[in-house]
């Protein structure tokens, strides 16, 4: 049994590799991961809302939306669209997004006024003004992933999947 064990030198060299791998982790990666724990309370709140799922992404083909990795790669290579557009759909509401260089243009379908909120992984929430026909703008383009919640005049609330641009 003892023959199967690491020699002292092997053990030390393994420890050295373990410490090296730990040092290669960007410090912000662990900090951001720890900070995400506060998301739990928001997550609990969101599960009560209607979920709007990604149904269209101009940067991906249908197979990609179903998570087929190989098709995902092929789909992207043939992609030539200038602007990225995305659609998130729930039963009674769709949220259409178009990504430009300096912002994200949003449209609620059917058009209606509402309150839109941008939720970030660090649990920050930012209100976005929406006009009476359901247009809104996120400026600048969010650099981290986010979710949108829409509180509609009907009293219903809808939340999107995570959006990463």
């Amino acid at each position: 049994m003892y023959d199967d064990q690491w020699t002292d030198d092997e053990l030390l060299s393994e420890l050295g590799e373990a410490l090296r791998a730990e040092r290669e982790v960007p410090g912000a990666l662990v900090d951001a991961g720890k900070a995400i724990f506060t998301w739990r309370s928001i997550d609990a709140e969101l599960t009560a809302l209607t979920q709007a799922h990604l149904t269209y992404d101009s940067f991906a083909d249908d197979a990609a939306l179903q998570g087929e990795e190989s098709s995902l790669l092929v789909g992207v290579r043939s992609e030539q669209a200038a602007l990225r557009s995305l659609t998130f759909a729930a039963d009674d509401l769709s949220i259409e997004l178009e990504v430009t260089d300096d912002g994200v243009l949003g449209q609620l379908v059917p058009p209606q006024s509402a309150t839109v909120e941008v939720l970030s992984p660090d649990s920050s929430r930012v209100d976005v003004p929406v006009d009476e026909v359901g247009w809104f703008t996120l400026r600048p383009v969010p650099t981290t992933r986010f979710r949108l919640t829409c509180h509609l005049g009907s009293g219903a609330s809808v939340v999107t999947d995570w959006i990463s641009l």
């Binding site: 199967d4 064990q5 690491w6 002292d8 092997e10 053990l11 030390l12 060299s13 393994e14 420890l15 050295g16 590799e17 373990a18 410490l19 791998a21 730990e22 290669e24 982790v25 960007p26 912000a28 990666l29 662990v30 951001a32 991961g33 720890k34 995400i36 724990f37 998301w39 739990r40 997550d43 992404d57 940067f59 991906a60 990609a64 998570g67 990795e69 190989s70 995902l72 790669l73 789909g75 992207v76 290579r77 992609e79 030539q80 992984p121 981290t144 992933r145 995570w162 990463s164 641009l165």
Partner: protein, 204 residues
Amino acid sequence: MTTVATAAQGGSHLVADLVARALQGDDRAWGALVARYAPLVTSVCRRHRLDEADTLDVAQGVWLSLLEHLGSIREPAALPGWIATTTRRECLHLLTGKGGRQRAELVGEVDGATIDLTEQLDDMIVQAERHAALLEALADLPPQHQQLVVLLIHDPPLAYAEIGRQLGMPIGSIGPTRQRCLEKIRNHPAVAALLESPARPAHR
């Protein structure tokens, strides 16, 4: 592949405990889970040639998924495998989504390496679990002994005289202390579980 499962056995008790405590709202337990799997997430991102900003983005997705799935983890030994495949999926999404057109060439490179990556994933999981077990054992040593181990693996190697000077230890006691430290690490439950597994990874 039995290697992955057996390698993960060692840390299962600790991980199961951390998951249970995190579910009860213990943010330190969550922090320990993040710290434990951060090297695995980082190494999978490196293999996909992501820069630091993209690595942080991918990691954020992985932690959010982990947080969502925390309550449905039945088998802690399967967690490293789940972390690795989730990271890989996030890497592919990022490479094809965000700025996909500009990255088409890079994606082409990654595509060519896809088969390799899948094969490497198991190795990366086994290695990450081995490292996690060793770091767990190291952290359980008294602080001065931890420092000794760190100096012993210093690159370039340090003479015992230098190590003794830094730690205020007589040179004659370094050898025996080194021996005791390594024995403690070897006998640590997390490490012992790795060593007992018949599928111990080969050494170079």
